[in-house]
Symmetry: C2
Subunit: 445 residues, 2 copies
Amino acid sequence: MTSAPAPSFNPGKGIGSPVGIALLGYGTVGSEVMRLMTEYADELEHRIGGPLEVRGVAVSDKSKPRPGVPDELLTDDAFSLVKRDDVDIVVEVIGGIDYPRKVVLAALKAGKSVVTANKALVAAHAAELADAADEANVDLYFEAAVAAAIPVVGPLRRSLAGDQIQSVMGIVNGTTNFILDAMDSSGAGYDESLAEATRLGYAEADPTADVEGHDAASKAAILASLAFHTRVTSDDVYCEGITNISAEDIRAAKQADHTIKLLAICEKITDSNGETAISVGVHPTLIPRSHPLAAVNKSFNAIFVEAEAAGRLMFYGNGAGGAPTASAVLGDVVGAARNKVHGGRAPGESTYANLPIADYGETPTRYHVDMEVEDRVGVLADLAQLFADRGISLRTIRQEESGEGARLIVVTHQARENALAATVEALKDNPAVKSINSVIRLERG
Amino acid sequence: MTSAPAPSFNPGKGIGSPVGIALLGYGTVGSEVMRLMTEYADELEHRIGGPLEVRGVAVSDKSKPRPGVPDELLTDDAFSLVKRDDVDIVVEVIGGIDYPRKVVLAALKAGKSVVTANKALVAAHAAELADAADEANVDLYFEAAVAAAIPVVGPLRRSLAGDQIQSVMGIVNGTTNFILDAMDSSGAGYDESLAEATRLGYAEADPTADVEGHDAASKAAILASLAFHTRVTSDDVYCEGITNISAEDIRAAKQADHTIKLLAICEKITDSNGETAISVGVHPTLIPRSHPLAAVNKSFNAIFVEAEAAGRLMFYGNGAGGAPTASAVLGDVVGAARNKVHGGRAPGESTYANLPIADYGETPTRYHVDMEVEDRVGVLADLAQLFADRGISLRTIRQEESGEGARLIVVTHQARENALAATVEALKDNPAVKSINSVIRLERG
């Protein structure tokens, strides 16, 4: 099939040639994509202007039963499949980085459009993939890579293309949100809540990528690239997970009418040289209970966007799971297929702004520091001086009795991350500070 | 400029020919569109792949000062402007129906793509406009017509194009949401809250179109068309405004941990003949405070979508105002301009499903009936029988003392609208019922 300039684009009124699909991977997402393509074949044909026809399904082990796939479609040779002349669109739902990178590059080089749900791949190799797509003049779609069914890649690339985005802040990992929400509603500790998440299927056997924030960091890199028209990779993202969040942190947050969420925060900042730069980080964050993101519970995801003209927008929904991810994948397949039938290309990578990535120390933030201190005259003044020395003013101070000493909870006004971190180091070295219970950032606002 | 098949689509890497813009209307939205096009000309040029050039601004009165528009661009002859050879895209932000309809049709017939923010026009004449756009093979964009800056037209047309939408439910009118929210938080009555909305600029001098639900009905028609691939016009929408909502209704809702919102509800239903049909209505609706839409306060809008694979999604943001509307308009301008520079067309009208529009009496819903009744033996049994006669079962019944009689609040289980409405008529005719205080539908779920 060739991508011809279309004389008329009129879905449902005239049906064009079939669009050949190669499906790579047949796990939770792949099998749902297959089910939806089969069950709603007529609907999809009308929406595209031509039928989708699956040419092959590549799996690593052909001998495993694959319900929903006719035997003759199964192959363990993904490289041959993606190069077939009757394949127009390659759908990659394998996971991992190195192997899918090779297959996707082979597909793009063979002139096939690619739809991928692979956040790690896109966050690590967006530039290489985009260049290959440009060279072959084909589409590269990845809506499902960020927050599954929640439309956010499309809105950032298209709906908000006339606006200036100032920040994107999101709950983009369902596992950690489930854990933090469970801690918040039950008062349980981290280990207990993780165990519950695992038992209920919200956390994987090895939860590292989720709880350490790596999964959210991949999504943050993709969101920042789209929002700021700059290449941002997962290596550019400051990343801190939720493993140190204690039941006591959650309790203290509650007392102050706040909650703790793992946020991916992408924003334009002015660095200490007065230059505009991009700051991208993932870390536990205290947010007021009145903030729209505070109400995002269970394993739901939400993306909060601030733009100059649009103001504040929020996108909310299922950020993971087979069916929600397949919904986003199929939306992309319909887009790529429409372009094959009717001509045209989706907006590709946009990197013209090419803004510098700020060192995370340059990021303006606020700290919530919870510590055990000696209970004697002059301690508060001494410790407050450590903040003042670095130009940091304090917003609230709360002191409580705690055993033989005192517990001191300090919330700062906004300052740069490196000044705040240096102050915490100075606090640790101060003999009046017995221990630092926790340091958590607050959403600036 | 001709719309050529592009050899390479690479925004920001190569700059193409200019794209000529005709701006029709220079009110709150038009002037913001102009400001953003001027202020961010470089950004937009990179994102499109060519510069936007405003060829003319059509206004009804050329003598009025129009800050931001060079004199030589002003014209009062919109019809000549839209036909100019150097105009590629026509932006309609005039408002009204008859006059913009004529100009937009003239523009489409002259081969210009059109971006409009005009919900009334699109809801009344979508078919005629879409046919004209198809015939000329140009784009018709109207993201700003529903909920301004909130991306919803794009997500329904593209991101969710692989999914099956079951319902779309939204707060799509900021004026009525402001009034209902004010009533909810202050306990004030309707008139007082409307007066406050007018004073603060959230309601127009003549608020009829908002408070009677007509504005929401236009948006409901557009949403239903997109969600169900069927032509739905504002005439197909059942419409009931908020003018009868009393402080007492709000108080009673609060007591039951509910709130009242004016919702546009579009859903696929099974009618009494067992056929799938579309039900579209706008009416005040009781929703539990735990529902995501309950937290949408002030003049904010939100659209709640349920789809088979994606599950529940919500889109939230500013649903009105100059800048948010201009954001959506410019997003569409960028889309149409990309197509002019690089070739291709946006997905057009999709009406293949062509589902019947159900009579609103067929809609399954639930009623909350608040009435004054006589306080004597047997009344409750008699009245309950009126529901039972029509096959309606009751979910909750609350009886309170009220003067010499009793106040009875009944919440039904789900039944068809016409059975519920007939029951209310029978209640009115029953001598034991002194008055019906209010009848409000509950969100089914």
